[in-house]
Subunit: 287 residues, 6 copies
């Protein structure tokens, strides 16, 4: 699903199979009157999703057969995606037929609040490791159907994207390696022969021996899964930058800095997409 | 979107446009071997989403052209959706070709963790008001594209569903009423004439006067929006059960019990769907 | 399906899998010449569907790759949907490339004739009960795939909409109640606990006892199914307006007035959507 | 759209965006109990659409996640599509979980009633011309989105199908010919060069001269549009069977026999698909 | 599938489930800069597909959310589809944001190269029979999913289209006839009764006796399948133009002229769509 | 699009918007009789696509409502995909209702012929370089909409897959690098910062200097575009295996061996997917 399909589905589940807002229907022709609304962030955070306001409203106008009122529609954003905002900030102003904004309001806010929540939490992790050269990575622990938006939000929060799915990178976990006779080197070589030269291969490890085997196997990246701080340090020292190392498993805002201090290149964090707190944002029709 | 489409989309974003898992591809024919996995809940909570395990795996088998291996597939669930589980509980056991479970694992867990997180948080609110006859309602503040599942999860957590979208109930907010000349009674009557007799009409109020007007208007339900405890008590006393009252706005686990003590019939809570913490659940291939 | 999808499907079945009109293809570049057409109603009735002319032609221009000829396209409507027209009335005039109007003609007329036929028949029922305060309701007996349009047409004919589907209102028929132990009160209460407070519950009754039970059960609306005029009068007298009453079953243009005289609030009529006679409308290319 | 998509759309508009029947939901697990229903035709007619019963119910079971109850499901039909039935006939018996039949009932009946209505009306026209060798043809005046089913119904009523859409046969009407300089012979030849040898070309005529020109042009079929009985007779006599003749325009049950007496090969009738009266059919759950 | 859907699918398989070009992403905002590109044909041939350039780029701009850069976009074509071009010819010039043309380039060329390859090969067959009145027909041996474009390309190469699919013409092969008791006349008559008068019926024959039977059966067209030159001549002489004859089977550029010399009306060639050599075309960003 | 959607689209374009085969319709109930067919390869080559036979026929049975005849259906394959076959080999035998195989035949053959043609041509390139350790790679020059199948076929022919699309690997061509100030090292570093660590970055080069810059930039792979044999040798000697080298541009069966002799790791060939000759395969109903 691309953005356009995600928005379509979000609106369809709100407007129903026949795409109608019965409350707006009650307004009759008054729903076509112009209106001005402000989008207000009520707590400090990183704002994300502003570009979607325009797309949501355009799609509502289209499916509600209000294309002829497009001259009443404009959006002005006062912040950029990824920017920090203080509580009370007006981040956007929307001119729009009143019936349209009433129908679009909840969908716009559902997007903005989730994505800003992700960006805000991501930024906290980025700050927690900013005294090192370690980067934060996201994971595939995203809300089903929202992966491409969730991963845009982590980027606006300052993280880098890990693989998008099972299709664009190989990750050999213990179960994969076990299924290929348990030999890491053989597993990586077999993989390369099958997937060709254009996909990166990462190997998941949990012991020093596995790390040594993985580095020697020709893997492009090695994941240190649920290791102690000491073990990670030992691995970093031995690997000496020959291959990027990713720490993973049980990392939270409290221990992220210490994990970064071990010298790993990347820390991947599931929490930023599976448990973000929605940023408090509201929409107020002011005239 | 129905469940089947939601699962399809979740798998498509993980498997990509050509539906392939390059890590499983590397396994070759070994991926067709049988395997047994356990789904383990690692923290206390209400489990929700178990019925989706079967559907996700069946769809993966189908899209990966592994239908002929269906004799290797079975799921046994040891708990029911909505049940409380202790940390460490094995909630399900899955027999399945190893390549299939590796491709399906993350999608299964993304569903289970979100839905169980919603059910668990909902249950906390339900418990917080359980000394009264007040019921918890969900809202439309759901993850875009997941409304029907999010609302199933709140139900398994003990809440009742508020409207599903803009199509199945009328909610007249201040902006609707303002647009209809500000007269609540007139607005409700006009609405009834337009939407017919089969849709309920709820009116949002923030003052005692508005509550009185709403009750007198023929509305089917009245929302008390962001009112103080005292004001809510006053409204409850005046309304005397003639119409159901719903408290809304700024209600959290700390104040929910007190709000319920005012005698309102319902409390609606956005947090249970917009900011649930994922329940920690993992899948372990045991053989 | 929303309107846009309904139009898409109607055009696809006419233009085929590859979207081509072989008769227009034969015209070659002449098909791009401008033309003017008149839409003429040939018998008296209520016109409905005028807004679709614009949408059908735009979609044909788009799928036929004729977007660059949009400057040749305009529609002027001389009547509004829901208005009464005399035989011979020109209801719209269309300027359009001649190839486009030839491809769009039948689809436009199929919509206009069905919807105007529904509105016209509906209006006859509305007139038949207009000496009372009784309102006409439509039903779910619509042409498969056309529900949202069919129900718009009944509205333009002066009726109110009954529920749109199985999702936006509860209707407990004898079979539902039987399945819940035959106790109406218990059935309504169990329903309320499951579907929450936002959906209306209607109970179907066929005897005086059932009506009494239904009114006492907390149902929001009661259907009097296939009752005699006398029984309906008795029910109306006993209910005294505590809950809206809907007469249903075997009601036609001849007896509708008498049914309305019983004092019921609503009469629902399947015939207006399952057996409308198409209004005779044609399109004439005049230059 | 094929049959499967038409059924999907019909169910989606009835079950809504999240595919739920709130009345059946109220039944809880009782909805999974077995039941037996009879489908009863209440007036004489030609039955059509019986094969859809099975498909509708299977799709409901699938989308409602009730696949595991398929052992409770069977349909037995006591008549064949196209057969004449007396009032009161039980045409099918359905065993099915009670919740499923309650959700599927209206959709099944909407299909059966429309298609049987079409077949019944078609048969009347077929009978009206049965003393001649003239055949009844349908037209493209079908309900938008239902063409393939409507045209199956006319066949079961004894008619032959005219073209399915604009893609599978050329029809040159006066406007097409005018656009190609008004010369019928030239128009037909130009058309043949463009559409190739595999599509039939029919020419619409309204005067004797046009018929002569059309027959001489190499057209595969000639339509006599809105001609008088006398003119049709003259044309038939002159054409002498060199090319099939189709009478069209303003033909109803009263004059169809006389039109057939002129010796035309085919009569096309829009009424059978644009204005059929639904056959009265009901479904009764008997246990 | 219509053209728009074909383009959508082609872009989706190139841009992936989330519609992203990671190479263009690396450009950052530089990707929005204007650019000019030339489309250059590197070998002599018939160009085909030019109209798709505009559609591909517009769709890329839309799905990549770059609609606001549409003022940077224009296409100028220096040749028409179906025209012969010399090696080195610039056939089109494209102004476009550089990121968009980089994302669209391969898809544009994949279309242009295949369609021009088809048109070029078709033209060779057309030339090979141009000393006769025989016409070249295409077949259903097209690339799956590309039939409507492949058949447009054969037309631009000078061929006529055979049937588009199994739906718009009847072709009775030996297996059909065998299944209908082996009697050609009976088979054609039965077919006519079932499919109605609007579809052409072609009969496949391989012996002189079959040709005689087919011509006498009322078939609209007769295929001479894999016959020798002598046998075809004999058939042509006997048929005397009463029905069009199509030669088919094993016809290549070397023998096409001789087959045409037999006097058959049409020659159908699978090779032009199942084995065209892509025309060498490239795109060069010049500024 | 996954395989299932590709097959659906291929069948839809052949069976049309209403999914009907008018020739099979003419058979009436005879079409449901059993039949046995042989799939015969008529020239030597690598067979590919056998697994699709089953899927195509199952889908035809489903869309034609012939599921109840599934007991008449089975496929036996006598070769495996990727195997070499001699002319005249029977590669599969199909038992199936005769109407179904008649409707499915052309679609099955269109798939088999294209994919086997690709595999056969690929194998020739693989053989041409088999005296070296060089591997053949495919490209994105595939038939629009068929990429995933075309790339499966090259694999069965012995090649490895290059990137699937623009989403799973970065390829920096001269235009990308120019747009990033022309500095290869800077371009690669900027790219890594934006796309994260999980995607490979390949740099296209055409001079020795560019190769040196690319190797020093941290690129994962370097493409030698349209270089002379001598220059490629020089590059191979200098790079000394630090990074994989891919030769590309103007490589055909005649020069592929010599290019491989230069010591490059990979040769990518567009011809194997943009201009394969269909392998001659036919289907014969034998009883």
């Amino acid at each position: 699903m691309n953005e356009s399909e995600i928005i379509h589905n979000a609106l369809e589940e709100d407007l129903g199979a026949s795409w109608k807002d019965v409350s707006v229907e009650a307004l009759g022709s008054v729903g076509d009157n112009s209106s001005t609304s402000k989008v207000i962030v009520k707590e400090a955070g990183i704002v994300c999703g502003l570009w979607l306001i325009d797309e949501v409203i355009k799609k509502v106008m289209m499916v509600c057969g209000k294309g002829e009122f497009s001259h009443l529609f404009s959006v002005e954003c006062y912040f950029s995606d990824g920017e920090f905002v203080e509580p009370g900030s007006v981040i956007a102003e929307i001119d729009c037929p009143v019936g349209i904004i009433l129908s679009a309001e909840r969908t716009i806010l559902n997007f903005l609040q989730r994505l800003s929540g992700i960006a805000t939490l991501t930024k906290k992790f980025v700050v927690a490791v900013s005294h090192t050269k370690c980067k934060i990575l996201d994971t595939r622990k995203t809300a089903p159907g929202l992966r491409c938006l969730d991963k845009l939000a982590t980027k606006f929060g300052g993280a880098l994207n890990h693989r998008f799915g099972l299709y664009d990178m190989v990750m050999l976990k213990d179960n994969h390696i076990k299924a290929m006779d348990g030999n890491i080197k053989k597993a990586v070589e077999q993989t390369r022969m099958i997937v060709g030269p254009t996909k990166k291969i990462e190997v998941e490890t949990s012991t020093f021996e596995e790390v040594k085997a993985a580095v020697g196997s020709g893997a492009d990246m090695v994941m240190l899964d649920n290791m102690s701080i000491e073990l990670m340090k030992k691995c970093v020292a031995w690997v000496k930058g020959r291959v990027p190392l990713e720490a993973s498993g049980g990392i939270n805002l409290e221990n992220a800095g210490k994990v970064a201090d071990t010298g790993v290149d990347y820390i991947s964090v599931g929490e930023i997409t599976h448990s973000p707190k929605a940023l408090d944002i509201s929409l107020k029709i002011v005239s």
